[in-house]
């Protein structure tokens, strides 16, 4: 992709859009490492239900997060048609389970609206903004926040116990 353009032009950034729970989400293309089909995961003990387990990504053990469950919308019934987006953010690499990947968009800054103050705190945390394009509304997710909010089992235990 035209990543140079992306780096230099602060105003315009490229996003990959994907579908989950009928909504359209987008993530900065620079954080996406690859997209692959769903494979069965190995479940992990003592983790919240949105952590679907781990898979073997060419020798790397990759944790997979169910985006739908992460947003509190229930578990995804994963089939071969579902995809895992491999996100590389900071020093973490995780997989994000979504329904489908749909498009690559270039969004300029003025097309991004700030987040309306109606969502729950937890969701608010990793929504960067809302983009409106051709009448579509796309929720821009911050992969950095999404991956870091998923921090360590210690937090998970707390969440789990609650």
């Amino acid at each position: 992709m035209s990543s140079n353009e992306n780096d230099t032009a602060q105003e315009r950034r490229q996003y990959i859009t994907f579908l989950a729970t009928g909504q359209e989400f987008a993530a900065d293309i620079m954080t996406i490492r690859e997209i692959r089909g769903w494979t069965d995961t190995t479940a992990l003990p003592h983790v919240p239900d949105y952590v679907r387990g781990v898979i073997n990504l060419r020798g790397m053990v990759l944790p997979v997060i169910d985006l739908k469950a992460r947003l509190g919308l229930g578990m995804t019934e994963a089939t071969v048609k579902h995809v895992i987006i491999v996100v590389n953010s900071g020093d973490r690499t995780i997989g994000l389970l979504v329904d489908a990947v749909s498009d690559i968009l270039t969004v300029s800054r003025q097309e991004i609206q700030s987040v309306p103050d109606v969502m729950r705190e937890t969701q608010n945390d990793y929504v960067e903004g809302i983009a409106v394009l051709d009448g579509r509304m796309i929720t821009l997710l911050s992969m950095t926040k999404l991956t870091s909010s998923f921090s360590g089992a210690d937090d998970m235990f707390v969440e789990n116990a609650a």
Partner: protein
């Protein structure tokens, strides 16, 4: 990185190697096994550290090493006898030099107190320590980056009554291979005084028999006006192992028939060609017949040639290689499984696959071997430790080291230092008696601590043995009761009592003297060893000494594991924690408390937990009749029984950490990838047990009910 910084790093790396070589040499001197080459090696090490240190402006380091070097020089030239007392001072000087290097590496902020050792060294050399402390900065004559002096006349000493030095210099092929150049050496001799050089071509064979990479030439050099033999020797210092060198002193003018005499500045450009034999044969003159050079080289041991060539490689690169090969092995396993599934008459295919598997295993082993290192690097630090501890406690100790060439993975080596330090210190401090006590017990005043390493059955065994008093079991028992670690009427075997000293509670305040109790930080030692996937055992005989044995895996990158099935999932249990596996009878299982279970293992009740229950594995059975119980030992609770659905097999697995991506999960140590490409979790026994303890309160009792207990 700043280039200067990079050079500095290289210098410190070299210092580490040189310090090791020095220590090794000094220890050889201590045991009286040192030949002149060893002493030279020590001298060279000190000299090189000083030289490099000078280049970076580490003045304190240079000052100290100068004194040290002077003392070594006296030993080397035979002016100072390496008596045990002298060597002891030299050893301490070696320790201090090592401290200085560390201080320099850390930016020189921490001053090293070397005054005492410096004074002792000065006493040996008869120098004033203050003067010696400030050497002339230009004192790096033997180094590679010594300035090349051009005007030879300047160097001539004024004192006339000098003997003539006859130097016979016959390079070996190895000298050229190391990119040394005889011309430069002869030129350097020329800087000491007027020289007369004769080439000895008697060894030069016919052209047809000439091996281009062999050395055939020798030179006879007559050097005048040089007062000092060591100056002459210094010229050849860096090639001493790679040539025959004979230096004779003649008071009388000897008429060496010069075939062609040359003065140094006008030396023909022999150096244009690296291959020694390629020097123009036409220049060969009718040479004098001389008896084969008396092999002065016999004194120079061949060890120099035997030193293996090594390269420095970034560990990350090696890790990548290890990783990739691991992947290759997994992919191969996957492929072969799929091919064999799909091809019905796969005879030839399977033969090919077998071959591939064989090759891959070999490749994997070879790659793993890159990461191995001799345990020497850890063992080398121990003599110093023993010396220091012995000095602190006023004991006389001899350290015997065996099997230091045993190779282990670098990751293991790195984490071996601390527990070993503890154990050695413990052996000297608590294991050995004072000289007076030893004599009273009819033993030699000098105690012995023996450190050994060997390979046994795919693991490495490291033993620390002393010939001290052994463990006083009644006192250990008393202490344990006093600390509430065991009940007063507990019936313990000798072995169990010995093992009490590893308990955390035992060590905390057990150092209060009146007890022979060994146990300073032994719980830490045990934890370190367990973390490494190893085990520690202890053997002791009253009055004869005790022996700690460590059994460690050869690498941390792979683990010997037992593959078990629980529900829909596969788990790996580290083999090092497993004691036995058994099929329990329902009569042996007893309910305990609200939801606990105990299993009767030959009369001893151990807690029984289900892995499926504990980790909430989907599809796990709670049916004891179909379960297999694996008895494991953990540091925290001792023994416990884990119920799993089935044992799949035993296998070496490659450890894949996922903590950086997901954080730590209690009960899970890491993951691995099985032959079918699926991820299996490696269980962490200690964490599992801890989780089980916390969790017992609110857990439903379905397992208990399912057992019908």
């Amino acid at each position: 990185m700043d280039p200067m910084e990079a050079i500095k790093q290289t210098y410190f790396q070299e210092c580490d190697e040189l310090l090791l070589a020095m220590e090794e040499g000094l220890i050889a001197m201590e045991s009286g096994e040192a030949d002149s080459e060893t002493i030279n090696a020590v001298f060279r090490a000190v000299h090189s550290i000083k030289g490099g240190g000078g280049a970076f402006g580490f003045e304190i380091l240079v000052g100290f090493s100068h004194v040290f070097e002077t003392a070594m020089d006296l030993v080397r030239s035979g002016k100072l006898d390496p008596t045990p007392d002298v060597v002891k001072v030299l050893l301490r000087a070696g320790d201090k030099l090592s401290d200085h290097v560390t201080a320099a590496r850390n930016g020189g902020s921490d001053a090293v107190d070397d005054a005492e050792v410096k004074a002792e060294l000065a006493k040996l050399t008869g120098e004033d320590p203050e003067d010696a402390g400030a050497p002339a900065p230009a004192d790096f004559e033997g180094l590679a980056f010594a300035p090349v002096m051009i005007d030879i006349g300047d160097e001539e000493p004024a004192a006339p009554p000098c003997p003539i030095w006859h130097v016979r210099f016959a390079p070996h092929a190895g000298l050229y291979a190391k990119a040394n150049e005889p011309y430069l050496l002869i030129r350097e001799l020329g800087m000491l005084g007027p020289i007369e050089v004769t080439a000895d071509l008697s060894k030069l064979p016919d052209l047809s028999a000439l091996e281009p990479d062999q050395a055939y030439f020798a030179w006879n050099v007559a050097l005048k006006d040089c007062p000092d033999r060591t100056k002459v020797e210094e010229v050849f210092e860096f090639v001493s192992g790679d040539c025959d060198l004979e230096i004779t002193e003649e008071k009388v003018e000897a008429a060496a028939p010069a075939a062609f005499a040359i003065s140094a500045p006008g030396l023909p450009s022999l150096d244009d060609d690296d291959e020694p034999a390629a020097a123009p044969v036409a220049e060969a003159q009718p040479e004098e017949k001389k008896a084969a050079a008396p092999a002065a080289a016999q004194a120079a041991p061949t060890t120099v040639d035997l030193i293996k060539q090594t390269i420095r490689v970034d560990l990350d690169k090696v890790d990548r290689l290890v990783n990739l090969v691991g992947e290759l092995v997994i992919t191969q396993a996957m492929l072969s499984q799929r091919i064999l599934d799909s091809v019905q008459q796969g005879q030839t295919v399977s033969a090919g696959l077998g071959e591939l598997e064989h090759l891959l295993r070999e490749l994997q082993e070879a790659v793993m071997a890159i990461r191995t290192q001799p345990v020497k690097s850890v063992f080398q630090r121990m003599p110093r430790l023993v010396r220091e501890t012995a000095a602190q406690t006023g004991k006389e100790v001899r350290l015997e080291i065996e099997g230091e060439t045993t190779e282990v993975d670098k990751t293991v080596i790195e984490r071996l230092g601390e527990p070993l330090t503890h154990m050695i210190r413990n052996a000297v401090d608590h294991g050995l008696e004072t000289p007076a006590e030893r004599v009273a017990a009819g033993k030699p005043a000098e105690g012995t601590v023996k450190l050994s390493a060997e390979h046994r059955g795919g693991r490495i065994i490291i033993e620390v043995a002393d010939d001290g008093r052994g463990i006083n079991r009644s006192k250990v028992r008393e202490k344990a009761i006093e600390r509430g670690l065991i009940s007063p009427n507990a019936n313990l075997s000798d072995e169990e009592i010995d093992n009490l000293i590893f308990l955390p509670g035992f060590s905390t305040a057990a150092t209060v003297s009146n007890i022979s109790g060994r146990g300073v930080g032994l719980d830490v030692v045990r934890r370190n060893i367990m973390d490494l996937g190893g085990r520690i055992t202890i053997g002791s005989a009253n009055g004869k000494g005790s022996k700690f044995s460590l059994t460690l895996p050869l690498t941390l990158a792979v683990l010997d594991g037992m593959i078990v099935a629980v529900g829909e999932q596969t788990f790996v249990l580290p083999l090092s924690h497993i004691i036995e596996s058994l099929l329990p009878k329902s009569a042996d299982v007893k309910a305990f408390g609200s939801n606990g279970m105990l299993l009767n293992v030959r009369g001893v009740y151990v807690p029984l937990v289900s892995v499926g229950r504990l980790l909430r594995v989907p599809g796990a059975k709670y049916d004891l009749a179909n379960s297999v119980v694996i008895l494991v030992e953990s540091e925290g609770v001792g023994r416990m029984a884990l119920a799993v659905d089935a044992i799949v097999g035993q296998r070496q697995v490659v450890i894949k950490s996922f903590e950086s991506n997901i954080g730590h999960i209690d009960g899970i140590a890491a993951a691995t990838i099985l032959g079918d490409g699926r991820v299996a979790l490696i269980l962490d026994i200690d964490g599992l047990v801890a989780g089980c303890r916390e969790g017992t309160g609110g857990r439903p009792t379905e397992y208990q009910q399912a057992l019908g207990a």
